[in-house]
């Protein structure tokens, strides 16, 4: 259901962009939307992060995935079970850049016997990594449209991304990889019964949306050969806060679609599951050191507990304790305090 609806939804968005282009509503699509989208993304994401940050982390709850630090002669797993900030940073690095946890993925199969087989299953990890890295590289490449002089890092990225030296203009590998990876992730969601069962429209929609953004970009670069100088003039006008009042000649309708879909993605981002991008850094099971036996972790809202004390206990059981020779504080039970049940 969500799988098809997402298509319909994105198709509708594409149509809106085309209509916008036909009606030449540049001030809306070319100026208002981009600025509003960027603002929404920045403010929305900040609000989200601040809201997370406002909730404290009352307990030290890392998920430990390796040997704890204990006796000096026992090899401590400094990364999978860190006790220091450095260990945590390395653990987070592996998590964010290499998807360490997803790399552990296994798949079960129940055979007759019963015999439960578990094998390594790296497809999700591979596709996820391919998708996210491609996205990042494409994003970096796009910086060329937002800087007067192309930064060295961007040129290097472009050079490496096109090192196969195929075609004119040169083929960027990430363009193929991102489309392939999204296709895989989409069909995985549709085909695997369990994943399909848990999938919401909100799971398909971003995939279709990002696929369409990448697809429209590919069309512009390799097929319709959009007037790239015009595009840069336009994007630089946005950056310099002196936006052009009309789209330059030769930029074409597909660019309008590309731009509008990016705006939609930016607006959609902070209200959706895509916030995992920021959230992964704030996950207490990953970003905390397992050092709560070494250093006391303080909970800001912890209240001290005073209730069932030893005195209450002894008052309840004094005679029984005396009868078997367990030492007591008071010899006879003169106290008639209403002990046990507090209050």
């Amino acid at each position: 259901m969500g799988a098809i609806m997402s298509f319909v939804g994105v198709l509708a968005l594409v149509l809106i962009a085309i209509l916008g282009a036909k009606a030449n509503l540049h001030l809306v699509f070319g100026v208002l939307f981009p600025y509003a989208a960027v603002l929404t993304l920045l403010i929305g994401l900040t609000v989200r992060v601040v809201r997370w940050a406002k909730s404290p982390v009352p307990f030290r709850i890392p998920t430990t995935c390796g040997q704890q630090k204990s006796l000096p002669w026992i090899k401590h797993s400094r990364i999978e079970n860190p006790t220091t900030i450095w260990g945590v940073l390395v653990r987070m690095f592996f998590e964010v850049f290499l998807f360490r946890s997803l790399f552990r993925n296994t798949k079960i199969e129940m055979h007759k016997g019963p015999h439960l087989a578990q094998g390594s299953s790296k497809w999700l990890w591979m596709a996820g990594l391919a998708f996210h890295w491609s996205f990042l590289i494409i994003l970096i490449r796009h910086l060329r449209f937002f800087t007067e002089e192309v930064p060295f890092a961007v040129s290097v990225t472009e050079y490496l991304d096109s090192f196969l030296q195929i075609g004119v203009p040169l083929l960027y590998m990430t363009d193929l990889v991102i489309l392939g990876a999204i296709t895989f992730l989409y069909f995985r969601r549709v085909i695997i019964p369990q994943v399909s069962y848990i999938s919401l429209p909100a799971d398909y929609f971003p995939l279709v949306l990002i696929f369409s953004i990448a697809g429209s970009g590919v069309l512009m670069r390799y097929f319709t050969k959009t007037h790239i100088v015009g595009v840069k003039a336009y994007t630089m006008s946005l950056v310099s806060l002196r936006p052009m009042m009309s789209m330059p000649e030769g930029v074409g309708t597909i660019f309008w679609v590309h731009l509008f879909l990016v705006c939609v993605l930016f607006v959609y981002f902070p209200w959706s599951k895509l916030v995992h991008m920021a959230g992964v850094f704030m996950s207490p099971t990953r970003n905390m050191a397992n050092n709560s036996r070494i250093v006391r972790h303080v909970n800001p809202w912890q209240t001290k507990y005073k209730g069932r004390t030893y005195v209450d206990y002894e008052n309840d059981f004094r005679e029984k304790m005396i009868s078997v020779g367990v030492p007591v504080e008071k010899q006879e039970s003169e106290s008639a305090e209403p002990a046990a049940e507090k209050e």
């Binding site: 009352p58 998920t63 630090k69 026992i74 959230g279 036996r293 070494i294 030893y310 009868s323 367990v326």
Partner: protein, 536 residues
Amino acid sequence: MAKQPKPEELAKVDYTPPMTAWMDTPAVLKPGNFCNAAKEKSLQLLDMPNPRTWSAKDDDWKLPDNWKEIVLEGLRERLDKYRSLRVFMDICVRCGACADKCHFFIGTGDPKNMPVLRAELLRSIYRKEFTTAGKILGRFAGAREMSLDVLKEWWYYFFQCTECRRCSVFCPYGIDQAEITMVGRELLNLLGLNIDWIMGPASACYHKGNHLGLEPHTFKSSIEFFLDDIEEITGIRPEPTFNRKGAEILFVTPSGDVFADPGTYTCMGYLLLFHELGLDYTWSTYASEGGNFGFFTSMDVAQKLNYKIYAEAKRLGVKWILGGECGHMWRVLNQYMDTWNGPADFLEVPTSPITGTRFDAAKSTKMIHIAEFTADLMRHGKLKLDPSRNDNKILTWHDSCNTARGMGFFEEPRYVLKKVVNNFYEMPENTIREKTFCCGSGSGLNASENMDIRLKGGLPRANAVKYVNEKFGVNFVGNICAIDRAALTTSIDYWAPGVRVTGLHELVGNALVMEGEKKRTSDLRGEPLPGCEAEE
């Protein structure tokens, strides 16, 4: 209880999800899959809200009129108190990596037992009540209204999660279903919806000092009862003390060790070891519980139950605390105790009186695990051991969930067991250490009325045991968890008959060559030692 089907029958798991979407598929409470309701009296003892007599089997759960308000207000409060909850509510992408990592999903095929969907049960309400997208888009954004059906679904599935954290190891964002289950259970507790198997022990522990409800004289006599057996087997009679002021060490272990086989043999192991070392230690009848069933109830109750350990250490004036073999107890001691009831500034950093080793890794909590303590003794060659006494045992090792994923306690017990057992084989890599499978009955679910789900949830663990049983002839599973010792016995007996369960210090107790002992002919279970069979 209904008769259990044959293992081959129970293992026929249908993984096909229902035809209807999960939001349109209300939970059906199947007998054998849920526990009896908590008793009114237990709730009253712990001052918990809405105590009453009710049953999950009835249509009417006798909820307070404003139950919905209570739940939503409770959720709001917890979102402000726990970053874990807030973040985990927002960032799940439903990739499904966690799905087949849960023993309950593997054993039942019920999609609501996939951690992701178990979390969505709560997340859908969160979206409806606390997010803009959910309020506007409703079901498109995965939001739904809170209703009585949802509440019952929560109760059913949050008490079908053992808080083992295995899903959290595989989640790319570290989303920990245990955190969500814990909050879910807290919300249910606001309405007095707990299970008897948890609230019974929790209230007993509060009042009498331990989950089993052993009063001081009974607690003492239970331990003294072991002394007769020990004397018969070894010719030595240890002299444990109770509530003794001025002892150097307070020893705290789960009360299951004192009461139920095979934990009792582990307890005998402790007694032998401490006697041989001449350790200046004491038991406490007041702090006579290491485990914490409050942890399966709410943070508040957990803190109350845990309070006694430091309080008693202070009263008795001991220098530091030694803890026995238990799973969730050690997650609590590692990740919660100091925060709740510390700082333990009246104690000293634990230092072994035998080897002089200072346990700096427990510098703040001042409490160490007996496996660390024993490993250190062995490392320094302070124990005379005869591992051949365990030669009739072919051992495999089960890492307990909480010590594995809430602490990282892997090498210490292995070091110890390799010193006392000659035949040891690991289970397959994906089922041990941080990837270990739950026994299927953790977090207070080891009742008898829910045997069906316990056995299903126990399948992945037991199946790996069966594998090493067939391949290497393994006939014993060792572990350091009281719930494992009770629960695995049942589940392995069902799935891998012929394999038995043992604690670590039972093996130590068997191998320990004590000064002045008579020639041993039987192990701590009273069964003949290898080579002594004929003499029986």
